[in-house]
Amino acid sequence: MNAVVKSMRVDWARITSGGWGMIAGYMLMSPAMMALFGILFGGDDSAGAIAWLYQYISGMNLLMFVSFVTFPAVYQDTGNNADMNGLMPVSRRNQVIGRYVYLLLFGIMLVVENTVMYPLGFAAAGALGTMGAMPWRTIAIQGLVYALCSALVLVCSYRFKGQTLMYVVVFGGSALLILGFVVTMRFEDQVRAVAEWLGGHVFSSMGLTVALGVVVAVIALAVSYLASVRIYERREM
């Protein structure tokens, strides 16, 4: 049995501490909501409402999957479960790798769900014919945002414990948003200039845009992984 797989099995037990049903429920909540609203809105004129709703529900789904990434750490920090990491036959590096594999798996699930959800909403409304093009742009952006957020959250889960981790994620996240907002306001001209330049030179090319997104995601994940290993290997349990 591979050590990474072992560590993933323990993490799975942690993730499903509240029961399998709960996790399955969480994971299927967004598509279920999409279907439900589709049925409620039903009708040929529902296309606009469903497309609008999709933006929100897929965004909620994104947050849900980012939070899944912290589940092993959150449960491990209850009681003395962290001691288990010290006795399991898995090196610390392999334990970290296991969590990043989960991060990737959850990312894939998010993209799959967000992709399925859109036509699902229309189908439930009986308006598949009016669906039009798939919202690939939204799906791609949310995939990228997921990669960045989960990379940040996961490294934080190695740096901070339990309650502190929650505060860091909630307050740190809010602070980042506010900071971003303030910077955009303060340097409006510069930001617009950069955005325009990007719009003209990069985003105009589909291939270049996708490549840039992938590169950014990979760098974020790689930096996050290396930092996590470094933090965790130095930690004294």
Binding site: R9, V10, M84
Partner: protein
């Protein structure tokens, strides 16, 4: 003579070699060295805060050592960490499971970790210990939680069992049951126990070896009988407590009507030469030794 049986062929289940660890708090575990031959029970003793748990965490590579080396079953505990831990069973003083897990869930989480997991054996231990598989970890008493950790350790056929204060807060029956299991466990000569405790009555008869740590330093390691044979407790009235005795004593406890002092056997023999039938000389128990090697300076004066 006893150790002849151990020399040569018997491999070490655990070998700690010059291990040191300095904490920022100022506590220091200093140059600890001892060997535990396979097939025996070693008691790791010392007062609270002596460094017993730190030593166990060093063996488990949960804290980083500053110096020295540790070999478990002939393997380096860091370089071969995964192979070492596959053969290691650990019982901590508090449970290491997620508290909302049921006993069933504990098995599900643990069986994935060990290729050698034996479902039937786990089942047998649950029955024997009266562990209800549907109960949650947080609903278990301290004794039950200890038994659950023990059941886990025994169900993947750990070769070395490390117990960190497993009996603190347990009643006599649970402690008795634990000692029975440990005797069974080492019966085949292949399995080994390192048992840290400050409740030394558990070890008085069962332990083959004693490693005694106090103030972060190794005070003694070796066969238990040698440990106990090395000391005597000398008791007498305060008038008997003269300079010679005070100088020879390892530790002295004085009270209103008398004193008891710990002396090395050779010093007792020397004393016996000159006098004093009124002194009471008794064999020392593990508790006596710990107590009297840790008396505060003010008391010993």
């Amino acid at each position: 003579m006893v150790l002849d049986a151990l020399s040569g062929s018997t491999p070490f289940a655990l070998s700690v070699n010059g291990v040191s660890k300095q904490y920022d708090s100022g506590f220091r575990l200093d140059d600890i060295t001892f060997d535990l031959p396979a097939g025996y029970i070693m008691g790791l003793i010392g007062p609270n805060g002596a460094g017993k748990s730190t030593l166990i965490k060093l063996i488990l590579n949960m804290v980083r050592r500053d110096a020295g080396g540790i070999e478990v079953l002939g393997l380096d505990n860091i370089a071969d960490e995964e192979r070492v831990k596959e053969q290691l069973g650990v019982v901590f003083d508090s449970g290491y499971f997620v508290e909302v897990w049921t006993v069933n869930k504990v098995e599900q989480a643990m069986r994935g970790l060990y290729a050698t997991w034996n479902h039937r054996r786990f089942e047998q231990y649950c029955k024997r210990f009266g562990l209800d598989r549907r109960k949650k970890v947080k609903e278990l008493s301290r004794g039950m939680l200890m038994k659950l950790m023990l059941a886990v350790a025994l169900s993947h056929d750990a070769r070395l069992l490390i117990l960190d204060e497993p009996t603190s807060g347990l009643d006599v029956l649970s402690r008795d049951e634990l000692m029975d299991i440990l005797h069974e466990y080492i019966e085949d000569g292949e399995h080994t126990v390192l048992f840290s405790t400050h409740i030394t009555s558990d070890l008085e008869s069962a332990a083959d070896f004693i490693t005694y740590i106090t103030h972060g330093r190794l005070y003694f390691t070796g066969p238990k009988d040698e440990f106990l044979d090395a000391f005597r407790v000398v008791k007498g009235g305060l008038a008997d407590l003269d300079e010679t005795l005070r100088a020879k004593a390892v530790g002295i406890h004085r009270y209103e009507t008398g004193f008891d002092a710990l002396l090395r056997v050779e010093d007792v023999k020397a004393l016996a030469g000159d006098r004093r039938p009124q002194l009471l000389v008794e064999p020392a128990g593990i508790d006596d030794i710990i107590r009297l090697t840790n008396v505060r300076k003010g008391n010993a004066r």
